[in-house]
Symmetry: D2
Subunit: 350 residues, 4 copies
């Protein structure tokens, strides 16, 4: 009986606009329609004026347009500090003849358009929770415990959209676009946490969003984009309806040097080679790691997010023996303060 | 029969001028005359305009002056990128009643004043080689294989010194102070390599210094200072004439993520707690680690030395579970390109 | 009839700890007791982790201690971006035999200790207003229109001080030291504005402080320090009870390129040579100058304060033909948004 | 009798890929075939990892492709430090019915393909000299004294091109691409200097290129690009065969604050409004301006080129009262050390 099969490629990038490695895959037979998502690590500063993300996104849009497709979710994370290596991770899926077994599953979903006045409020949390459940169903993941990575792209508030809501008599949570991005990411992450069962919807109030950061999802990554009004959701987990050599699990590092948590997860996974590592890193806001002061938050020359990616990149590269790891900045309700989730995809030997 | 005993303290620093932790040690009985060296990690950029080093040095000089001593070697290395923690490592030694066993030994030596025209030339290499041998004898280290860390402070060429040499009819290697610092460090490192037996003096020509970087010492760290005309040399190793619970060994990382080399050294050391980790880090000049591109050398916003310390700091912090590690920038003839020496001091359990 | 005489020196600094130029002045006859204030421009980043300020302050304290005085106000401003030149401006005053004429006058005052619970509130505004009036009286400046520069050093809230207030049943405005510095600077600047007559005390409410930034003094510069509990106030202006060749006036630049305002002030001053230029610079928060976008606030690699000092430093250096200008970062209630005050001291020809 | 007419637009850019302002010009009647060149200031760091230049170039290529043209020279200069404003300067030319008068003239030329082995050598100098003369002829500029701005885009050496030369038995000056860019820019600038009459071809030896920097053109700006093997040359000057309200002249600033030179040039130009200012800025390599130390070359946190653009940007913005000025980094044989050329285009009043 046929089954679904996930394929994951890790492709080196010589620059933010170097999509040649992915084009080679397409030329060599990768079905463009099978591509679900591109997660990119580009070599910008990962902060406000990081144009490598837009340059990379534009380059992939042009590539996919040449192949007649436009549906893949394109998510770019800037910052390859330290010896992290710029690369693209390509997620694809297709039907194969083999019988299903327990294997990496990829599901996607889009929600309805989000009414602007719900952004950053419980309405968005509920909408995303439903969307993540839909993506889980799409992936054939029944048990939230089998879900190990959620990627969400969410909308933001532009001035035009705020005015449009006001015209309907509604009051958006903010008219400041930058702030709206944080609210949207925060509410989306909490929505994922609800779907996963990490939190209960009725325990979340509007006032908690971007405020009570002890509420979080330990396996969710969110970015916001001006180009959409709904949510693009991708989930990765294990399902017995899929086949193939790939498995996924995740660890939650309690602090920036918690290699023990990572090694424990690695030991639960089948022996094999590392296909992808997807991690989050941020500076502990208390300014301490295991009682020793760090200086990341006091450095006015280098953003703490850059310090954190370089350092946690080193921690993880030391464990995995590779430098093309996806380490993105931590953010609103996405993992514990100072620590962070690490999702690991392994290709079983033999 | 009495023996020598090495004591090593790792003391947190709340800022470049915070010597209060060391003052507390002195108040609590540490004999100021027993202090041989202070190795400091300060929170500057570790590059040209890093004034945290001078500020820290001045603060220690004032502290030691209050205690009536001035002989300790003060070596400051700027840069606590990532989550590295600013701290001082204090090396002291004194005679104890216990019988000798095999233990960490600390030796020191000073050379004669270096004629300016020998700086950066084979003359300096030979002088330093003799100095390191003298420090080894002082430490009671007979076998160079027992030597695991050499710290050298060397002179530089000022305009006045260059003129003074010219007046004697001699030609210094350069009249550029900054360049002279590199030459002096390079020749000093090669001198240590000769003493250790890593290189043969007759295989080194003037033209090799700061040129043939495949010649290096894998356990030597050198800094240059305007305040001296001779060389201050400190060696750490194992000696059977010393006693106490401390042991030292060193690893040479083949690349920035070579945790295997570090773990192998750690497994050779007695079980116990980590007293100090002294490492060097630098960006691989080929721009690659295990075939994957890094962007450290192309980043015009952050110096590659800062990237490298943050990243290798993370690699080592992940292995050792601590962040107050001494990671300094790699340099002339001090370790292999892209990799680096790691000296580990362990306090034996029980 | 004898009169007071102000003397102002602009002394080059080869580094943050280079006080040798000032020592030379003292050796050549400058009376150490006549020194009222040192305003320094040091080559740090002017932000959180700028240790050049502390290093310079420590170096001046040690210098003055060697000369047996400790009363001069030492104010360090980090940041010599662009081609700004690190330097010290020394303000001194003494009695001379000459008759008074209209000339630069320097006055100082200290307030009583500020009760912690008044910091950042109207109580501090009123206390500083009284202090500035006292300094004006000390300077013999009767008309606030003759006042052209006010420098205030104000206290901050440490945890210990907050606890001490709490023990008395009082609630300090914040327990966060960094925030308390902003509140203290803001309230101090508003106090100066009241004394000068720019604002009316009864129009200022607690809630306005660090909130309604359209309230400001156009000639006041404030820094906060942990070492004091009262306020050190220095005023510069014109008085008919002083003598000598120096005059002062100030301009308010409406935006970062408003050279017209500066030239207008310069034309009101007597012909002569420039003795000192004391200016403030900050990025316009609207992100525009004369309708054209600037990118200072979006640059995550370089702080906007550094951009602003470099740029406004260039604007002023172009006008004055010199680079040792005191350009410090704008701040709470100190000058209009995006523009800034420029105080100019001129030594009359002949 | 019909004449040629130059048109110059200064168009704001909201980001490196914002070509909408130029598209509006095209929609409103600007003939795409009349566009000769785009000079862009983008908001990157202007150094190695500045991807805003490529992103902008790609965006203009796509725009022009939509309008069916591809011949305009696209030159991007990164770095809008301080309050400099990102913008595009569009140079166009077309025939008009009006009689000729003395007015701004624009000429272009392309050379033959440069044999790789001539790059960075006198062969390239001669080829560019001929090319600049051809562009002058195209512009109808007879007297080199009427030439006030030369922009050259030159080739570089890739590994493939070096190998190709080697196969022919030739030895390229370097196999290092980055170094080849400097050699190509240097030889091109010297070529322009020869055409202008600033230097004599027979006084230039291969060894002078990128070595004797006292040889330079005071009105030439060069960039190198991988996409061409010949040279794209654009010259701006005054010609009596053109018509219209635009005039150009240039100043050479002797140091970074030499506003006098700029004002002198401005006073020679007709009264009117500023159409464009094209300047070069770099840090004085002696570390001094008018005897006062600057810290640009010692700052390991911010590149000296960024400091210099911010500061000189301020100097010029103060003079011209505008912030959308083209200030690019100085370079090989392009202007005097520490100073720089400033070309000014003015639109005559009335």
């Amino acid at each position: 009986m046929p089954s679904m099969r996930a394929i994951v490629y890790r492709v080196a990038a010589a620059g933010p606009d170097d999509v040649s490695g992915v084009e080679t895959l397409l030329q060599n037979g990768l079905d463009p329609k099978s591509v679900v998502a591109v997660l990119g690590k580009t070599e910008g500063n990962g902060c406000v004026n990081d144009f490598t993300r837009g340059f990379a996104t534009r380059s992939f849009e042009a590539l996919f347009a040449r192949y007649g497709v436009s549906s893949a979710s394109i998510v770019m994370s800037g910052g390859t500090e330290g010896a992290l290596s710029p690369h693209w991770t390509i997620f694809a899926r297709s039907q194969v003849a083999e019988d299903a077994g327990r294997a990496l599953a990829i599901g996607t979903a889009r929600t309805a358009d989000l009414p602007v006045e719900q952004l950053g409020r419980v309405g968005q949390v509920a909408m995303v929770a439903a969307g993540v459940r839909k993506a889980m169903a799409d992936a054939g993941i029944d048990d939230p415990g089998d879900l190990h990575f959620v990627q969400i792209k969410c909308p933001l508030i532009t001035l035009a959209r705020a005015n449009e809501a006001a015209a309907r008599g509604e009051t958006p949570i903010t008219r400041d676009t930058l702030k709206s991005m944080g609210y949207s990411r925060g509410a989306s992450a909490l929505g994922a946490a609800v779907a996963i069962g990490e939190l209960d919807l009725q325990d979340i109030a509007d006032a908690d969003i971007c405020n009570r950061f002890e509420l979080y999802s330990d396996r969710t990554s969110v970015s916001s984009g001006v180009e959409l009004r709904d949510h693009e959701i991708i989930v990765l987990g294990m399902s017995s309806r899929w086949s193939g050599p790939l498995s996924i699990d995740h660890a939650v590092m309690a602090d920036a040097i918690d290699t023990q948590a990572v090694r424990a997860t690695l030991s639960r996974l089948p022996a094999g080679s590392i296909t992808a590592v997807l991690a989050k890193a941020e500076a502990d806001t208390a300014g301490m790691i295991r009682g020793k002061r760090h200086t990341m938050l006091d450095d006015s020359d280098i953003s703490s997010t850059r310090h954190a990616r370089a350092f946690v990149g080193g921690v993880l590269a030391g464990v995995f023996g590779m430098t093309d790891i996806y380490v993105s900045g931590g953010a609103e309700h996405q993992g514990p303060s100072g620590g962070g989730p690490v999702s690991i995809i392994v290709q079983r030997d033999g």
